[in-house]
Chain length 383, copies 2
Amino acid sequence: MKKTRLFTPGPVMIPEDVMLHMAQPMEHHRTSFYRDMLADVTEHLKYMFQTEHADCLVLTGSGTCAGEAAIVSSIHKGMNKALNLSGGKFGERWGKICKAFELDYTDHVMDWGTSATAETVTKLMDADPAIDTVICVHSETSTATLTDIEAIAKVTQARDAVLIVDCITSCGCIPFKFDEWGIDIAFTGSQKAMMLPPGLAFACVSPKAWRRIDKAPCHAFYNDLKAHRKAIRSWDNPYTPANTLVLGLQKVLHGFKERGLENIWKETHMLAEATRSAAKALGLGVYSKSPADSVTAITIPDGIDEGKLRKRMRSEHGMQIAGGQDDLKGKIIRIGHMGYVDASDTLAVIAALELELKLQGHNIELGSGLKAAQEVIFKATQG
Amino acid sequence: MKKTRLFTPGPVMIPEDVMLHMAQPMEHHRTSFYRDMLADVTEHLKYMFQTEHADCLVLTGSGTCAGEAAIVSSIHKGMNKALNLSGGKFGERWGKICKAFELDYTDHVMDWGTSATAETVTKLMDADPAIDTVICVHSETSTATLTDIEAIAKVTQARDAVLIVDCITSCGCIPFKFDEWGIDIAFTGSQKAMMLPPGLAFACVSPKAWRRIDKAPCHAFYNDLKAHRKAIRSWDNPYTPANTLVLGLQKVLHGFKERGLENIWKETHMLAEATRSAAKALGLGVYSKSPADSVTAITIPDGIDEGKLRKRMRSEHGMQIAGGQDDLKGKIIRIGHMGYVDASDTLAVIAALELELKLQGHNIELGSGLKAAQEVIFKATQG
């Protein structure tokens, strides 16, 4: 027997009951059934984003779709200038979107595995007073690196700049507080913490962001957030929504409310901490200088064939883990702690990793990774 | 007992086995499993679009997303001018997209329920030689009206113009021949003929269209078709795809191949013809001057409360039909013939319609609509 276990940092494993819930007979989206569901979902999304006054919007598309919507709706050509903090694959992408739409922006490129600080942002904004928008990735999935959004938001708030946050692999699994931190636009996707299939994306837009958005027309259509705001006022979407995924979303968000966001954050932290401890016990390093709890990037030592390792994790253990991208290809593996994954799954992937490392001749004591993980889990269970 | 039956012209009913097939454990999209599936799906999409040399691309989004992709990728600002043939809600939308992206275009507005002819297009192109792109809706869902794309394509082909066709409620259910007719870009969505939930869209792009697309950069990102072309060369998507829907798509497209497109077209025609005959027998009119077989718009006579009718169709019979949009609100109902709907379902909706009309005092003989429909079905069954 070989179960399929997905440890990629999105798509993630999905609860079986959510999958079957989405398999029920199709309902149309212009019905009271759907409107009631969207109203309920919106209320629960506010809880997930931790906001009271922002609008939570449901888009049909991937996280990139919502990122584009945030950028093209709020950065007006000839009126605004964005500072894009880029320390990985996704930071790069938001800069590419600014470029494609011919927006005024500047990329601040950082070493992969590091994150921007409030001091850096202050310095960069001081040096270029035209900057009135900052784009920042909370948890950079490609490097498993966390940025201190709370600190950066203090800088943007003080200057009345608009802060756009990619919270694709943070919101819903690690601490994320839209209102309290002072974020203006945040966006995420369905296939991460929300443990759904890919196909939905979410944008959270503050009243301050709307004031900016309303200052000029948006030169895009599908991703114009104003169309979404207009529709949501009557619990509708501007274009046909991926409504089976909305069904699943409602079920997942109810589960979030029952479990409590803080408990989810704690559990994700425990899984990440257990994985990092196991990696160290196995003589492996944690890649990021500022590791995020949603996904762990583990450096692969010389002599270990990362491609073979990942391939065998799949063929022999049914486990899908992620490799590195671009320059990190072959150098790291990434294990996700988002979605429908628990301590048992995490121990399972550590166990398989131990076996495969040993098979490739890496000098480890079998069980040492598991022991280190167990210590973390035991401690967390106690309190 | 009250079954849910969806007769809206998208979303449509979905085969139960397809729904359950999509509920299987999640697989990642950067695996040989997904790549093999995407290769197979692409091959089958070519059959659906009836093309040999065009690229078939899978986008995550609604049909509007794919429409925007077709428009912003191929119409370059300052280089091209589009003629948008607008005779309904969707024709209007493609013009709005041109406007949002500040493209050079002109709307040719027609009476709703009518369609453009080759002669009109010839005249309009003669009058404005700058026009090098024509945007046209094959089956205008808002009015259930068909346009003769084959004839219009002859005009655009002769002038080497690019023809963009919205085949959202045509491709896969009524005759549509990309290569033979000479279309350059066509696009559709998953929740129509393909009998899937909403969330995927498809674009079919000819070599001639690619030459146009390659002439200048696209000033959009998520909907830049070039990114999709690059990805599909290695059976990949540029951004995380709605992969559970791709699973369902593969199953549906295999079914299309087994049933044969021509048989599907015949069956859709039979359902439409049966519905139109029933409407006439019940003293109701068919709204469109050029009715499409994918959806039928039936005019509601004075004295019948359309809102109440539609509401009771749902509450008393479990059936969801569509009303009219904008000026047609309250004046027509629309019944779809796409997706997982057969003759029995179609008879069921006619029967419910008869009952509700009679209850509202409309002077009809019960069973007369059914009889008219049966005559059509019987004739079709005989071959």
